[in-house]
Symmetry: C2
Subunit: 512 residues, 2 copies
């Protein structure tokens, strides 16, 4: 079998999506799941970009087993050194060096001549190769670059120690025929011992097709992201790439990935929940309706033979997981047993409070889905951090005939406080009460709500992003009541902003 390396960039390019700001524990949780999914390379971040990015890459390099951990870097030595510092503890570290090679990027963004770009590429790659044998080089905006110049730069990268050459279609401009031809031309022209990789964006809906055209032409690494996250319209969707290669193994003869497809649905749900980016119902492979048949003719066909209208078995991608038999009478043992089978490690206080949450939910909701358990546990896993504020209870009254009012009981460093505020709606009132208590004077950047399963008794997953004094933080909240979920999310974001404010104050005291 000829292995295509799956290079996941959910935590780097995906995390650059507007409104997404994952903190270190969240990134670790996603990285753990990506390793369980069986991706070959996890691009964990861009260490020079911020202290948060550096910390996340370092934590993943130290804590996540089984995958190569990559760190992104521009060509400057300071960038490369910082990338290496963050990633060096990984069992298999990789430095990913990039510089733009298209005329418009060199002239307008870099303000460099082509010769300067060549010198930068050579020097940056050589610096990275002085640290590790696993060096990837990307000529940014490669698909809009002069092809001869592109090959010159790539040759320099190989000569200076690059072992992977990644060809980005940065602006999503490629069409499969041309992009495949570009990959073939590079393999023909640039000699040496390296793997060719693709990095395709989806601005015209062609990211997956372009990546696969690359594979057909000889590429053996694909850069992609769960749920197709990434700048603008995102990157090639990992789940589509993997399932296309698997389902059409007659066409991609002898080619395989190492991905455990049964983990795709869960990985997709985790990423969606933590980023607050909903997955379209009709999203290929991981959408909730990707395997649903509605019309009578289709249903009739599927009853006769599933393959009349199905080329992927939903079980293959983990979409039809074994029914969960947990109910309101299940005990702690059955609960932690089920979680273990789902591959979730949770213990101690987090297990206890997750179990309490589960019992509460079982009282309210008839059927408890795997997705419900994941959501509960995800919230409790983050609970080891010390938060200044916690929500004890929330009560509301009012509506269209009297202005909505929310009364919240919070603990402020353990001390009980009750606060009441009104607003334009229930959610608005609850969040205003929190802002008042916490002295939050920033602004709301993003608010999104999605239901975890369907039904009136479904849990709502709310993600809120706040900004104060140039710092941003997001928070999540899960509840069968959308107002309570919103209040929890808002409070989580406020707690995070407070931690960041304190950390910044400490740094300011210590620093120069």
């Amino acid at each position: 079998m000829d292995r295509v390396i799956i290079f996941d960039t959910t935590l780097r390019d995906g995390e650059q999506s507007p409104g997404i700001s994952l903190d270190v524990p969240e990134k670790l949780e996603i990285a753990d799941q990506l390793a369980r999914l069986g991706v070959d390379v996890i691009e964990a971040g861009f260490p020079i970009a911020s202290q948060g990015d550096f910390d996340a890459v370092e934590a993943i390099a130290l804590g996540v087993q089984g995958a190569t951990i990559a760190a992104l870097s521009r060509t400057g030595f300071q960038d490369v050194d910082r990338a290496w510092e963050a990633v060096r503890h990984a069992a298999r570290p990789r430095i990913h060096v990039f510089i733009a090679t298209s005329p418009i990027h060199m002239a307008k963004k870099l303000r460099m001549t082509p010769d300067q770009v060549k010198a930068e590429a050579a020097a940056g790659v050589a610096r990275a190769a002085s640290y590790t044998k696993d060096v990837e080089f990307s000529p940014e905006d490669g698909s809009r670059s002069d092809v001869d110049f592109l090959c010159e730069v790539l040759r320099l990268a190989v000569d200076n120690g690059a072992t992977t050459l990644n060809i980005p279609d940065t602006v999503g401009y490629g069409v499969p025929e041309q992009f495949g031809a570009l990959i073939a031309h590079i393999i023909d022209t640039v000699h040496g011992d390296y793997v060719v990789s693709t990095h395709c964006h989806n601005d015209l809906g062609l990211a997956v097709a372009n990546s696969l055209a690359g594979v057909a032409a000889g590429a053996r690494q694909i850069e992609c992201a769960m749920n197709g996250l990434g700048e603008r319209a995102g990157n090639a969707a990992l789940e589509e790439i993997v399932m296309a290669i698997k389902t059409r193994n007659d066409y991609f003869a002898g080619i395989d990935t190492g991905v455990k497809t049964e983990e795709l649905a869960r990985t997709s749900r985790l990423v969606s929940r933590l980023t607050g980016y909903p997955v379209q119902y009709n999203k290929a492979v991981v959408g909730r309706n990707a395997f649903a048949h509605e019309s009578g003719i289709h249903q009739h066909g599927v009853l006769e033979d599933r393959e009349t209208y199905e080329i992927i078995d939903a079980k293959t991608v983990g979409q039809e997981a074994a029914q969960i038999v947990l109910g309101k009478h299940s005990g702690r043992h059955a609960f932690s047993d089920t979680l273990a089978k789902m591959g979730i490690r949770i213990q101690g206080a987090a297990l206890n409070s997750a179990f309490t949450r589960f019992k509460e939910l079982a009282d309210k909701k008839m059927e408890i889905a795997e997705a419900d358990l994941e959501a509960i546990v995800a919230e409790e896993l983050g609970s080891s951090v010390v938060n200044r504020f916690a929500l004890l209870s929330i009560d509301l009254h009012g509506g269209s005939s009297s202005r909505p009012t929310a009364t919240l009981v919070l603990t402020d460093n353990g001390e009980k406080r009750e606060v009441t505020a009104d607003g334009n709606g229930m959610v608005d009132a609850a969040c205003k009460a929190i802002a008042e208590t916490a002295g939050f004077h920033g602004r709301l950047v993003d608010y999104s709500v999605a239901s975890i399963t369907s039904g009136l008794d479904a849990q709502a997953n709310v993600v809120v992003q706040l900004e104060e004094d140039g710092r941003r933080a997001s928070g999540r909240g899960v509840s069968t009541d959308v107002v309570e979920a919103s209040a929890k999310a808002y409070l989580a974001a406020v707690n995070r902003l407070l931690r960041r404010r304190e950390a910044a104050d400490r740094d300011a005291e210590v620093g120069p």
Copy 2:
């Protein structure tokens, strides 16, 4: 210029998505907008499938100007006759006849021999051609059919009067290279005067690429749907097809569509709102972040020159509409003027109540976006129907320390009624109060909530689907309060179910 015909199937294949059930006024609204968008063909439904489908096709054929109106039909004469009956009033009617040609579909679903399928195809097309000169034929599951047999059937269709031959990749199995080759082979092999069309599904994320490979091979019609709606993972997304052909006019040299791209964003929002299917933030072309730049490097590049990271100007697809200057002090004239500029026709009582809603919203929300106005007007446009129940006010109290309770004041055929119910959450309580009042004993099939713009003061758009005695109906509700929006949606669905129940009772009285 070589014109590619854009055949929109949002109202047929798109409406077959699970959980979507549009009624006649909603389908008319979408069809009107599709005509404004400039699609060439609107597939309005499958008349034999249900009375509702028939009525919608007939209403669109009678009321929508500018596009060819197509009706779907199997090969049986009863099907064809019914399709013609529904569509015949259109200025340019088309009958779209289909029968499956793949071995698995013929053996397992149709239980027909290949010869029987050939006879059926010929007879069905001939019947359609006896009514109209515009006959389309589709060999269902074409991409998994024996290619020689496929061409025989297609030849029979042409000989019997088909003027369009549409090649469906029904299960989304195709890859661009092979699908393009199939289209080229058909053009080479089947002689006659016809247009070749593609109909690609997105199960492997390749629907757009396969459609475009078809165009490169000579196809001159593409079947597609807004937001990529359709069975399972959906059809090729209309917006991506159109923008790929436009943006890469160097590659698709001399090829053009008639679509007014500035209407894409609004069409996408309308379809999303009426179907309750959210659009992914990172969806190409119409996602809310499709043109957002997050990383510092990208932002820097775009400030220097937009084209460093942008191949589509957001204005081209209507994503950066002119700012709306309406505020709380705007009068009725400015309001209707703005709507007229947006291409929305509204008058009389609907205009009055839309204006009242707008003033209420302006009191609560700082910035009023075009999407807000669309949502308000969409609700009021449907208000000409007589509803048994109407919501006057909603008040809530309780929360986590006391069980949530909702008190609603409703009118029941004009008579005021107050009702109180409790539930697991605010939404649950409000909906239970409605169910009690209306004597609704069915079940909730689907519940979805999306925010129309971002922000705590954003309006929530809730879509609810209910089922009672085998009948389904959906309802929408919009409000800055998610609980109120949910109650409105639930009530709208209940009203519709009641209308359908009454209509069924009437039919039962009249019928045999």
